[in-house]
């Protein structure tokens, strides 16, 4: 067999093998894009308390007003 024919056949086989490998590699990369069926994008102290049992002292006060007392005396003659 002519050596040139064999070389040509070898080149063709190599190219076809490369094509096969590239095709298989591409086919193995499967992209899965999940989609959600119903998903939608949306736009957007204590105070002064006296507790039970406690006592509170309450200041008491009263001011006694001065009351004028009228005095009088009758001097007997």
């Amino acid at each position: 067999m002519n050596i040139k024919v064999l070389a040509s056949l070898g080149v063709i086989v190599a190219l076809l093998t490369a094509w096969l490998l590239v095709s298989l590699y591409s086919a193995s990369r499967v992209e899965i894009t999940p989609t959600q069926e119903a998903a939608v994008e949306r736009s957007g102290g204590s105070l002064d308390a006296v507790l039970e049992g406690q006592s509170m002292g309450v200041s008491t006060s009263v001011d006694v007003a001065n009351k004028d007392v009228k005095t009088s005396v009758t001097v007997a003659e």
């Binding site: 076809l16 119903a38 949306r42 006694v64």
Partner: protein, 326 residues
């Protein structure tokens, strides 16, 4: 001989060509099948309902376990939170605008009401607290791509119905509830019951000032002193009263019994008044549970005084008011 050699070469070439054609056919078939696989990989992930994984009730930072008691704060609000995690297999994010979660709702309600009786917009501080949205029921950090922390915050009023002994709803319990909703309106809820403690607390004025009176003058229902006592808890309450003599700065002393108390607006000489004594006496005051959100609950204790013949100057003393259960 030459013709024979040419015939052999042609045979080799034709054989090689047939092999090549076979290889090409095989490769094309493999290629076509491989491309078909990539086309059929588009898929749809079905929406699933979210879940509330955990619910932790906290009373001012302290954990309240299931059936435990939450203590209210006299005269003001108590900080109550519900924390935990929620999950959604469709994905979560730290904002309701992203991920699959659309809302988290938190509720505190009397168990007898059920959640339907405590929906959004029906807040009644005695028995129902509702919160949601970005302000009071917030998403926290993510645990992973499908689980996220949350916190719901409440300000529980001091007059919320007590479910412990003496409370307005002693036979009931409270329920803490968290509901998570996803973008498809699928929802899940988790609850925990708890009790609110009975809080007996009153706000009592610090002074009784009868003003300026003349010797032997008595107060009447026009100038007696009204002691307005405010409900600061969630329990009905009475008060006990006692007092001391009131020495005067110039001369004389006002005896304890010259001060008179009553539950209605009377004059010092009226039949319904009671003379103060040095021993604590239950007045039967009976302030009730507060039930209105808009208006504080108050009740008045009336005080009269009769000045003796011998007294001058400023007379002062101390009365003692004690809060007791009614």
């Amino acid at each position: 001989m030459v013709e024979s050699n040419n015939s052999n070469a042609l045979t080799w070439v034709l054989g090689g060509a047939l092999v090549l054609i076979g290889l090409v056919v095989v490769i094309m078939l493999v290629s076509v099948n491989s491309q078909a696989d990539s086309v059929s990989t588009s898929t749809t992930v079905t929406n699933v309902a979210p879940t509330v994984d955990t619910l932790v009730l906290k009373d001012n930072g302290a954990t309240v376990t299931g059936g435990g008691t939450l203590s209210l704060n006299a005269g003001t609000t108590e900080s109550v939170t519900i924390t935990g995690t929620v999950s959604d297999d469709n994905g979560v994010a730290t904002s309701f605008a992203s991920g699959d979660l659309s809302d988290i709702e938190g509720e505190l309600y009397l168990t007898s009401l059920a959640t339907a009786g405590c929906a959004s917009g029906t807040t009644d501080n005695n028995q129902c607290y509702f919160t949601n949205g970005a302000a009071n029921c917030v998403l926290g950090s993510t645990v992973d791509t499908t689980t996220i922390n949350y916190t719901c915050t409440f300000s529980m009023q001091y007059y919320s119905d007590g479910t412990s002994t003496g409370g307005a709803s002693a036979a009931d319990t409270w329920t803490a509830s968290v509901k998570v909703v996803d973008d498809a309106s699928l929802a899940a809820t988790l609850t925990q019951t708890f009790e609110t403690g009975t809080l007996l607390a009153l706000s009592i004025p610090a002074t009784i000032n009868y003003g300026t009176l003349a010797r032997e003058q008595s107060t009447t229902n026009t100038n007696n002193q009204e002691m307005v006592i405010t409900q600061y808890g969630n329990d009905g309450a009475d008060v006990e009263v006692s007092g001391t003599t009131m020495p005067c700065s110039v001369v004389g002393t006002i005896p304890i019994a010259n001060q008179k108390w009553s539950l209605t607006d009377l004059s010092a000489g009226a039949g319904g008044v009671t003379a103060l004594s040095g021993v604590a006496v239950d007045t039967g005051f009976g302030i009730a549970y507060r039930t209105l959100d808009a208006t504080a609950l108050t009740k008045t204790l009336y005080w009269n005084i009769i000045l003796p013949n011998v007294a001058s100057g400023s007379c002062t003393g101390t009365d003692t008011i004690t809060a007791i259960a009614s």
